[in-house]
Symmetry: C2
Subunit: 424 residues, 2 copies
């Protein structure tokens, strides 16, 4: 807070608090009308107009367009406000097993650049990181954009993402903050390169967050499962991504569904992953004499309504439905989302999960959760990483105050000492 | 915030923020040494000493004792600080099926009065509420204490506690705030009577919160299950009690464990409750020819190491272990707590849950959650309700500002350090 010119008195404090809530709502949600902002931050239209008036005047926010194109019915179109798009950039990076995706968005949540580069699945983290940084440069050069006001970087990595034992969290690096340490220093490489805070998490969990907050019907409680080479999951509870006591939360794929089932790569037997992952589904088809090599073969068999495939998919979805049923009894989510390319190829999966889930929950529960296929594709992991950045409280955009914003310290404990030097 | 005498400038704002964090830590945790406070709120010892000096001088906090009696090893005993005990009271109320417990604690978390009164399980909520209010009056009269500065009331009620459809939340009543509407207006009755904010929740969930935060080794992520006439549960995730999208979270007792099992009162079959509740365990003993009528009979059979009882208890605990195993893979809790009187009578339950759980989680997870019997008994529900009040952010004690701090010359010397900076 050092370096801010703050008018004295309680009125200024209250206004500042209101302003921060408006700025945060715009950072989290992108462009919104005044009515939407008032609802989200819980201010009256009158108070809100005063606040947005100040912010518009200072250039902290701008009018980006009207909601005419999105509006249903008649009535005067409302202006949509957003953080000044040029005031900040946010980067999302998604490291998959064989490629990295990068997106950069402006403060109004518009994607400025986006791209991907492939690597071998044997590539080291050093190689992956170098390729990702080159990609960022190339995208910047091609589009003629600069990341001079990069506010935060979200990075998704594959696999469970536990905090290593004894790791300091958060750890500071290069004058900035890395919220959780990442494999082989990918976090430090990005933080140093862009001098911006970095968030790293498992990319399936980031996808869960993106599903929870994307669109107009965002939900605070969501169970997300992704079926691919493995079965990953992510939980959003009370609007927050659940990490667990040692970063291992969300492993729905390793809940036991068949105690005497196939061995799982995790060392257990009969995990959900052994029956509901793509390899698990293909293996079950083989057991019934139907040899399918890959997803394309499976899609073809689904189109031909092959009875073995239908049976295998329904059994896999039944097991998945029992696991998300247990999750639903525990967490009472508003929505259950099933992701992974296979759910697009085989809609029966989501149908059967919904049917099994309905049988697993309280008959008295008037309405169970909505069960739906993922909105974002597996290639949208970088959007999930971006969502995490937009939603992370330490990363609130530093918006223009009356004077400069230089020389501020982010270290909470030094704030007292520092503040003593800037009294007006 | 209006009406406060607030010195101008950033320094005061920062100090105020630090003070609020210290006050909140003391409200949530009761008496603590300066070292403990510094750790919890993340301030340096120097900054903290300045803050506690201000607060001691104003009388907002007091020195209650030293930690000599709790301290291991040698070294000078540290003073323990707390909110001024007389500055506030907090009430916990636990409505069971056949009795209501009430406790009132002061701001230092010391229990001032405590008592219970019984009713028939057919008693209406009107009767129960009237009996509870009479009990509060009687306790007050007997102990000669008054609730003149009651800051909040926590009320536990049995059974699932969903927010009724369409209910406004929070709803205002009698110039105060009821955070969630309760059965038959018990919330409104207490709020009107004491003019204090009321929190209502399922009493098993409140017990979960109390287990998570009680003692020196509080945890932020906890799975709680209580075995009694039914099987109830509560989840604490990231330090917050999980309610779910419609207030139904925590129903671990109705996760299906035997698809073809006994019918459950919820309308499903083979719920965990049908095998791990006390009636479920007694029924299973009957099926093996051992007729036990109640918990006393069961305790007796456990003492005699009856093989049927051992087998039934291990099977019940195995089913429970699989459910908390699934919960553990999803939520990665630091601790799993099993409550209910039966866990005290039959320690084998907790042992078997721990063994089954160990087999259900990642072999690679270096350490699974601690599995333990509940610290608080079923009769301690009012303590859970109290914990919810201490932890509820809207209920931060209104602590004395510059005005009402007269007659406080007994502040220890160490507290005067920062006094010169306090503006009158």
């Amino acid at each position: 807070m050092t370096g801010m010119q703050m008018p004295s008195g309680v009125h200024a404090l209250v206004r500042r608090t209101h302003e921060e809530r408006v700025m945060r709502a715009l950072q989290e949600n992108g462009a919104m009308s005044r009515g939407e902002i008032a609802r989200v931050v819980g201010l009256s239209r009158t108070t809100l107009s005063e606040i947005t008036g100040h912010l518009l005047q200072r250039g902290a926010i701008v009018v980006v367009d009207t909601d005419a194109s999105r509006r249903e019915g008649s009535g005067r179109p409302a202006e949509r406000l957003a953080l000044d798009p040029a005031s900040a950039q946010f980067m999302g990076v998604d490291f998959g097993h064989r490629r990295v995706h990068v997106v950069v968005a402006d403060a109004a949540h518009e994607i400025m650049v986006s791209g991907a580069v492939r690597y071998e699945d044997t590539a080291t983290w050093g190689t992956r990181t170098a390729l990702a940084l080159e990609l960022v440069d190339r995208l910047s050069g091609e589009a003629g954009v600069h990341y001079g006001a990069l506010q935060g970087i979200g990075i998704g990595v594959p696999g469970p993402y536990p905090a290593p034992e004894g790791a300091a969290w958060p750890r500071a690096t290069a004058g900035t903050t890395v919220l959780r340490p990442a494999p082989e220093g990918v976090d430090v490489a990005f933080a140093e390169r862009f001098d911006a805070p970095v968030i790293v998490d498992n990319n399936t969990r980031l996808a869960a967050l993106a599903e929870a907050i994307s669109g107009a019907d965002s939900v605070a409680d969501l169970v997300y499962v992704r079926l691919s080479d493995g079965v990953g999951g992510g939980l959003v509870v009370g609007g927050q991504l659940v990490t667990g006591s040692s970063g291992l939360a969300g492993e729905l794929g390793h809940v036991t569904v068949e105690p005497a089932g196939r061995p799982c790569r995790c060392g257990k037997r009969g995990c959900l992953e052994t029956v509901a992952s793509v390899p698990g589904i293909l293996a079950a088809c083989w057991e019934f004499g139907l040899r399918l090599e890959n997803l394309d073969d499976l899609a073809d068999a689904v189109r031909r309504a092959h009875p073995v495939v239908d049976r295998v998919l329904r059994e896999a979805a039944g097991a998945l439905g029992r696991v998300v049923g247990a999750a639903t009894m525990m967490l009472n989510p508003a929505k259950v989302v099933i992701g992974g390319e296979i759910t697009r190829l085989a809609p029966v999966l989501v149908e059967q999960v919904a049917a099994t889930l309905a049988a697993e929950i309280f008959p008295t529960a008037s309405a169970g959760p909505l069960v739906a296929a993922a909105r974002l594709s597996d290639d949208d992991g970088a959007i999930g990483a971006l969502a995490a950045v937009f939603h992370s409280s330490p990363l609130l955009a530093r918006y223009p105050e009356t004077a400069d914003v230089k020389g501020r310290s982010d270290a909470p404990d030094s704030a007292t000492e520092g503040a003593a030097h800037v009294r007006p």
